[in-house]
């Protein structure tokens, strides 16, 4: 990872589940709330393992933290729109999980919003498949549940 002002001895090493090591500045690492407590005690030789995060996701997270404009909400909106634009539903889901695990400042909100928009008007079957949810209702129970709020099932988008 590209280093900025901080000398490399200050950088934090993060190891992803697929074995890649990323060196990031403490300023970046500190925005991942889950690893924050580990940073204080670490030195240049410490490698923090991230069991739920793949290299692709960590690359995106670092891209977000380094690239997010500091001011002007409109600039942030434009940056965030660009950031999620080309991600596939699978990639969005993976990134959401990584971000949720690392508790990345600002990015949990963006990912949850993006995934919410993605599933917003989809069918129950699509959302189940997307999240890998196993339907444990009996057909009668599910029918009752659908009946109760029948209007909510109008106008479902094509999957």
């Amino acid at each position: 990872m590209a280093e900025k002002a901080s000398p490399s001895s200050n950088s934090i090493s993060l190891k992803t589940v697929d074995g890649k090591i990323f060196k990031v500045s403490p300023a970046i690492a500190n925005q991942m709330l889950t690893i924050q407590p580990l940073i204080k005690d670490s030195d240049s030789s410490t490698i923090i393992s991230l069991p739920d995060v793949a290299a692709f996701h960590l690359t995106k997270i670092i891209e977000y933290l380094e690239g997010k404009p500091a001011a002007a909400p409109s600039a942030v909106d434009a940056f965030e729109a660009q950031f999620v634009k080309d991600l596939s539903p699978e990639e969005l889901k993976g990134l959401l999980i990584a971000v949720g695990y690392l508790k990345v400042n600002g990015l949990v909100d963006l990912m949850a919003n993006t995934v919410a928009k993605l599933i917003e008007n989809k069918s129950v079957e699509y959302v189940r498949k997307f999240f890998g949810v196993v339907n444990d209702f009996t057909p009668a129970e599910e029918a009752k549940c659908r009946q109760e709020h029948a209007w909510a099932f109008d106008g479902v988008d094509e999957d």
């Binding site: 949720g100 949850a112 129950v124 890998g132 949810v133 209702f137 549940c145 109008d154």
Partner: protein
Amino acid sequence: MQSSRDAVLENTNLVSEILLRLPVKYVLRCKCLSKEWFKTISTPEFRNSHTLRMCQNSPPSLLIHTCRHTLQFQIVYLSNTDENPSPIRTCEFDNYLFNPNLFINIMQSSNGFILFKATYCILGIRVPCYSNQHQYNFFNPITRKFSFVGFPRENFKDKIVALYFAFEPLRSPYFKFVSFRRVIDVNWRWDNLTGNQSSSPKKFNVNLFSSETSSWSEEDILFIAPPNIHVDSGVYCNGAIYWYISGGDSIYFDVGRKCFNTLPYPTFIDYNNMLVKYFGESKGNLHLILVSNDESVEFDILELKKDISGWVVRYHVDLNLIGGTFSQHGNLKYSVLCVVRQAKEEDSMLVLFVDSKILSYNLKNHTSRIVCGIDDVGQSFQYFETLSNILDF
């Protein structure tokens, strides 16, 4: 490596984070995913968090009640979303199906709850055989849970001329009712007999109910109202009930402090002899539209200052500019259904009923859109859907 699908589910926080960002319709749909999701969505904590979020970001809608003999109403979604192929849906409730002897008066729509009065009459006379002959109810059309407004004594509600519901989830999980009961004194009887009703001030006893203590206030607050006030036409906004009085200072009742104050007349423009085209609330903002005649198509939307010291011009509207309906017909009868404020200023809109259509007019970029065709708008209220379950408190 764990499958990523399981990981989303294991992190129930993440599931909640997503659900909290979905409008009510899609949250309800997600209830059918599995028992786990059903349970998450049904908890009071989730419903409360979702409601708080929706208070700021809900897609706005209108609730329209056209037939007084049933609690059937229509919800018209005002947002321009492609996902909503049908902007109207009809709500019916089995306990208030059509009955020619039933009279429903919807009194208020407030943060997802509806307050209404149901009266059973035959030939204009209340029917004693119905136990619930004359009742005030409030309910959330989404959860379909109804509750009667309870009163301290049986005859208390008979003198009620106005009842207000104060519920602002962003301020407090508790709600209040404010009742106004007519005080009948000798003068009033005399004026009534002589037909001289408008000269003497009307007196009311004001009482408050708080859900925090589940009780009505003991003492009556006396309200001596100006003769030209309609005590049931007030608007609840930000902890107070406001009455607009033409040609003079208006009055408001501060619910927290339990006192009446005056609200200065908008003096900066000559508003003498102006008609009130609209007086209503949206997201804690009180709006007033005054017009020189009922068909004026150019007007200001006034907003009450946050410190309640007076009015400011918030928007200027010229309906000639929107073309279509208005420019074709010249003088056209229309009514203002509501001013809708949104978290994003560019989404704020004016909603009109004109030529059997509901029209939304964007207050920021002055564009307009036909929301839907409809024959009659009867009583209409600004509304948004919530999962709120205050009745459990």
